[in-house]
Amino acid sequence: MTGIDAPFIADMFRLATVRLEGKRQALCQLDGEIGDGDHGISMANGFAAIDRMLRKRGPAAPPELMRLAAQAFLGEVGATVGPLYASAFLEAATCLEKNAPLTLDQLGLMLSACAEGIRKRGQAQPGDKTMLDVWLPASQAAQRAARAGLPASDIARQTCDAARNACAETAALMSARGRAARLQERSIGHLDPGAVSSVEVICAICDTVLERAS
């Protein structure tokens, strides 16, 4: 079985790039309801920048690729998601280094590292209606499934489901961070755009696991 190696990282970023490009308009529209309407642009452009960098760049170790991805994303978009995803990828790089080589069923370790990076940088609490409300439950689901001894394909499926369910739950939350926070209770009933795009990223990672595991 292959692990989370350099080709895996290139594939997962490519898949996420394609999916986020497809969601560009939908994410902007969602963001327009409670934010400033640029989320689709930031995410699609940011991942496109990572993809471009990976294509140009020759082979490198997974942690190095993650660090470069952080730089490429942050350099392209700044914004709010820039520092958050950059921190996620940097934390993931550290995780990949410590646990090298990471196997597919250790997916949860990498996702937890991402979640931790996002939490540290953004200082959001669970329940603040942010991307953390997807990254945390998804990474926890992955860790739980791994502890239960499930094969990588099941871990990936459960993680993706957990991400989707957690995202749907953000509609019940009231924004406490970012521009949507000024809307207070008017944000209830809207999905958090950052949560929706997080599902795309997480499921792209999970689907990359599925391709390899099956």
């Binding site: 902007c28 934010g35 329940g127 939350l173 521009r179 209830i188």
Partner: protein
């Protein structure tokens, strides 16, 4: 009129309507029925008509609109919401209390309302349990039942810390006292130290006997706690940090009777499960009548979980929270309003897009290039003022030579606010500006480029609006600068008073008031003030600035060319920022003077403007509003300032900090003392603000 009922008015059959009713029997009959409170047969007697005739008169009066029955909007909304919730969750009963009300707190009002329905729920001989929390205490305090025999109130769980006034013990005893019931406590803690301790306690005869009552409940009254940091479950000492750090409860969204449930209401088991003493969720669900009382937006998710899990037969809730739940489920309330009323405005906030053309025309090439192309165009237009620092169009510095040893001023933020922020780079203003994508913070490396350019050994002051993204990127940049030995101080502007409460200035956003803060800091650094002094003055300037924005039409992003939100034809959005995000409150469109009045009322109160105070004024277009309308706004603004006795030291009117093509305006008032006034008066030379 009290006391008229039953009084014979006149002899039957001999009378005409009193003069004030003319010859209109419908009006007279209606008056007697609705105003005097007579019965139909009394009216028949009084009018000398038959009872069926009176009945027909009254029906006609309704049909012809002589009598209109209206229910206040807020109460109507409550009824509609209650019906929708009953329908969605198969509730036996739902009572929705208007969220807005005088005097008592929301929790107290919801508790009172729940106490009000107890007579219909509780009967002689009943055994009922009550949990704990603020809402339960409010209910217990308000509860009154007279003459019910043999009612028993049981504490639903063991005890908690006595530090909270709303402990299980006090809720149960208070309720029992107020309804004349016997009280059964649970003589054990709700959470004990171990499973062994629990088994030991359950073996105690007294405790076992008390717990027996929980297995034969007729009614249970309970609240729900969120898992937010200040929620009841935390203040009760259940959920210590050691527990949170593990992922035992990561699925939980709330707690009922001290036990955790996930978003769908399924119990979440964890280390506390086997240390818990009280009514189990399984037993709770078997109780015939289960009254949940809850209020507040932070509880939308746990209430929804409780409803989904089937724990509730009767719900008492406030209207805003009820609406939040239904919005989460995407239930359109229109369906619950009778069809004859479809002309009424829908009760939801109606975020459906307006029909017709939705693409906005713009001068664009490839939309992705818009920021770079605009910045190149700006540099070409004002070569005497601005130039690229690193060859890119996104890191721009002042063209004019700067005095050696001057403190550097770096500003920045997303594009889309033109002429902000690059119009305020130049002598007596900022030294460099970092520009991000539309409405998006610039990344740290670009800010660092600007920092290196601006630094002349005496340090650099960052000034930017207080937005999550900008804060993170500028903070990262300042860490990088510090690593290179550049001293950096940060001012986050927070002039937008609509974005957060008065007491919470640090949570506010920076909008057009930025301009005055740049000016003050730039003037201070131009006269060679130290970094400390520049920082102090910029902070003082920011504290003096107060802004409110109003949008008449949303803006549209270059990439999407669609409105960022929708506003009905006769609506305006009050309290907008400068990013096309919706404002704080949607309201009906008013005349220009009334809009200014509303803004002034809030600004004057926030800054405590008194007679004799001096202010600087900025009437700023949000992009789509032309000068002619800004001048109309300024006219009224100056009248209001004069009426308050305040004097205007300086007025700026125009496009200063925009939000793309948003139609709307913001008004900024800055309180001035001699120090700030002289800095505003100092010469400056940016392409958007020149003063000699």
């Amino acid at each position: 009129m009290a006391g008229t009922r039953g009084r014979p008015l006149r002899e039957a059959g001999t009378i005409r309507p009193p003069m004030r009713f003319g010859d209109d029997p419908l009006l007279w009959a209606s008056w007697l029925y609705y105003q005097e409170g007579l019965t139909q047969s009394e009216i028949a007697d009084a009018m000398g008509a038959s009872r069926p005739t009176v009945n027909a008169y009254l029906a006609d009066a309704r049909a012809r609109g002589i009598v209109n029955i209206s229910i206040s909007h807020e109460h109507m909304r409550s009824v509609t919401l209650a019906r929708a919730l009953e329908d969605q969750f198969g509730l036996e009963n739902c009572l929705v209390v208007p969220s807005q009300g005088e005097g008592r707190s929301l929790i107290e009002r919801v508790g009172h309302a729940a106490a009000g329905i107890l007579p219909t729920l509780v009967h002689a001989g009943d055994t009922l349990a009550i949990t704990w929390g603020r809402t339960m205490l409010a209910l217990a305090q308000a509860a009154r039942l007279d003459g019910l025999r043999d009612v028993t109130v049981v504490q639903a769980t063991g005890g908690t810390t006595a530090k909270i006034p709303y402990s299980p013990e006090s809720c149960a005893t208070r309720l029992a006292d107020n309804i004349g019931a016997r009280c059964v406590p649970i003589s054990a803690p709700a959470i004990v130290s171990s499973a062994q301790a629990r088994d030991l306690l359950l073996g105690e005869t007294v405790v076992a006997e008390q717990l027996q009552y929980l297995s034969r409940l007729d009614r249970v009254l309970f609240g729900v706690s969120s898992l937010r940091p200040k929620s009841t479950i935390h203040s009760s000492g259940f959920f210590d940090n050691a527990l949170q750090q593990h992922d035992f409860y990561d699925q939980a969204v709330g707690s009922l009777a001290g036990q955790f449930i996930d978003a769908h209401g399924a119990p979440v088991a964890g280390p506390l499960s086997e240390r818990f003493i009280g009514l189990s969720l399984e037993d709770l669900r078997k109780v015939p009548t289960r009254l949940l009382v809850a209020a507040g937006f932070d509880k939308v998710q746990p209430i929804l979980a409780g409803l989904r899990g089937g724990y509730v037969t009767t719900l008492v809730i406030d209207s805003d929270t009820a609406e939040g739940i239904l919005r989460t489920l995407d239930i359109r309330l229109g369906r619950y309003v009778s069809t004859t009323r479809t002309k009424d405005a829908p009760l939801t906030d109606g975020t459906t897009p307006a029909p017709g053309r939705t693409q906005i025309k713009k001068f664009l090439n490839d939309p992705r290039d818009v920021v770079n192309e605009a910045m190149e165009g700006a540099c070409a237009a004002y070569p005497g003022h601005i130039r690229s620092i690193d060859g890119s169009a996104r890191a721009i510095g002042a063209s004019a030579p700067r005095k050696a040893g001057k403190v550097g001023i770096v500003i920045g933020g997303g594009a889309g606010h033109e002429p902000a922020f690059l119009g305020f780079v130049g002598q007596g203003l900022a030294d460099a500006v970092a520009i991000g994508n539309v409405f998006s913070s610039p990344p740290p490396d670009r800010i660092l480029t600007c920092t290196r350019f601006a630094d002349q050994g005496q340090g650099v002051l960052y000034i930017y609006g207080n937005y999550t993204g900008d804060v993170m990127n500028f903070d990262m940049a300042s860490e990088l600068a510090a690593a290179e030995g550049i001293r950096v101080r940060t001012i986050r502007t927070t002039d937008d008073i609509a974005s957060s409460g008065f007491e919470d200035r640090d949570a506010r956003r920076g909008t057009a008031g930025n301009v005055f803060v740049f000016k003050v800091a730039g003037a201070a650094s131009a006269r060679m003030d130290s970094l400390d002094e520049c920082e102090r003055l910029a902070r003082k300037a920011n504290a003096a600035c107060h802004t409110i924005g109003v949008a008449l039409e949303p803006c549209s992003m270059p990439e999407t060319r669609r409105p960022s939100f929708t506003l009905a034809e006769d609506d305006l959005e009050f309290g907008v920022g400068v990013h096309g995000e919706p404002g704080v409150q949607r309201q009906k469109l008013l005349t220009a003077d009334r809009i200014v009045d509303q803004i002034c009322d809030q600004l004057f109160a926030a800054m405590d403007l008194q007679s004799g105070h001096r202010v600087a004024v900025l009437v700023n277009s949000l992009g789509g509003t032309p000068m002619i309308e800004l001048m109309v706004l300024n006219r009224r603004l100056q009248q209001r300032l004069a009426a308050r006795g305040a004097s205007t030291h300086m007025t700026l009117v125009g496009h200063y900090c925009t939000s793309l093509d948003m139609v709307g305006a913001s008004i900024t008032l800055m309180s001035l003392d001699e120090e700030l006034a002289s800095l505003l008066d100092a010469p400056c030379d940016g392409f958007s603000w020149t003063r000699s």
